[in-house]
Amino acid sequence: MNICLMGFGAVGQGVAKAISLKKKEIKENFGFDIKIVAVADSSGSAISQEGLNAELLLETKVNTGSVSNYPQFGNNDIKGMDVLDSADYDCLVEATPTNIENGEPAKSLTLKAFTDKKDVVTSNKGHLALFFSELINEANKNKVQFKFEASVGGAMPILNFVEETLPSSKPESIIGILNGTTNYILSRMTSEGSSYKNTLEESQQLGIAETDPTQDVEGIDAACKTVILANSLLGIDCAYNDVEVTGISKISSEAIELASKEGYFIKLIAEVSKNALKVSPRLVKKNSPYALEGTLNMATVKTDLADDVTVVGKGAGSLETASAILTDIINVFKK
């Protein structure tokens, strides 16, 4: 299978690393070769029909800042949409940064791949949160596969899990912690008794929170995931603006202390059901599945037959997120 990898940040690099680590195993277990025929970042691209070396791609990116400096096949001329026309690929792995304003460049890249009858695997949330039904319709119209497990909860299995492992049971609601950064900040505030401001700064120093933490702390990231879960698992036709969003920036150490006295933690909880599409700080019982520490993500799926099923996993991280992408790639091949 020929892969075109768009975006070579943390997730894109994780995908290259994961492919390099698992190439042999995938060939043995599933009987197909994964070949990266094109990689692009914001400065340029590297394209070779013979396949690019994943380790050399990573080395080039780390040492020179761009894959455009890849020996022999790197270039500064072919960028963005043009990369898709310059490579002969089977599956687009779209790992550009999430854009919640207009979903670009992910949306255009994805739609172009669909029109060209290519399957698409993505970790991106922006275009899904804004144009979910349009994207699904286009994929169906062109009879291609479109998979986005990595977009919700990183390595935590949820979309494939509910669809493929629990097909007997109808999910009625999903309640979960879908953002690792805020979970880390709230966990630290609870254990250290520190203020929101100080804990955020500490998280930024550790690289857990980004320099501009708005998407995480204001609940935007979790709201995007809420939209994806609502559309894909509960059949609720909705977009980002339908979600009621409150972030954690108003949560004080005093509030956490009060909650703790009554046996509660405060967590940023996403609630996905026919009655509510909501991301907000909530009180969770200390001995409940929601009392999860650190950067972990979790989701409890309430179903009609199986009752409650809870999944937990790493919500971020380069290789962790790549694991979900690679799973999707394998599933694309299997179908």
Binding site: K250, S252, A255, I269
Partner: protein, 161 residues
């Protein structure tokens, strides 16, 4: 022995029969049944009064079975069942008249604030934890009221999941 129960049923066909079937299965007798379909409560549910006679163990089993079936039991032998709800308000909780906040919660029938704890912060905003006791089945109404107050007074309400 006898027990008096007040249940709350949805106004859909089959609900009453479903509730009554465990009674005979457990070898208990139905003594009284008052079911007034046109007498809905504020949640649009029909309160049903039952008097059931049987052995103590079986009556307890009946209550357990009804709860397991997801039936709301409002009263057992005249004692109103209560549920407890905790919420935290963050913002100008004192300046936005905390007395009035409590009164507005207490205004709801069968609902009262049983504990209030405020923590003042170095900064302007403070946090208040409010523990509310309400009649069984009223949780959603209480949460809706808390959210309404919070919106009006520009406070952040942190409710239970």
């Amino acid at each position: 022995m006898k027990i008096n129960l007040v249940l709350e049923l949805l106004d859909v066909p089959g609900q009453l029969v479903a509730v009554l079937s465990p009674i005979s299965k457990l070898g208990a007798n139905l003594v009284t049944l008052i079911h007034q379909r046109d007498n809905k409560n504020e949640r649009g549910m029909i309160p049903v009064q039952l008097t059931v006679e049987g052995e103590q163990d079986n009556l307890q089993l009946l209550i357990d079975t009804l709860i397991e079936m997801g039936i709301t039991i409002l009263e057992i032998d005249g004692v109103v069942r209560k549920e407890i709800l905790t919420t935290i308000l963050i913002g100008h909780v004192i300046d936005s008249d905390i007395r009035d906040t409590m009164d507005k919660i207490n205004e709801l029938e069968g609902t009262s604030v049983v504990n209030l704890e405020v923590k003042l912060s170095d900064e302007e905003e403070s946090s208040a934890m409010i523990v509310i006791e309400s009649d069984f089945g009223k949780k959603d109404l209480v949460i809706a009221r808390v959210n309404e107050i919070a919106t009006d007074k520009n406070l952040l309400a942190v409710n239970e999941v």
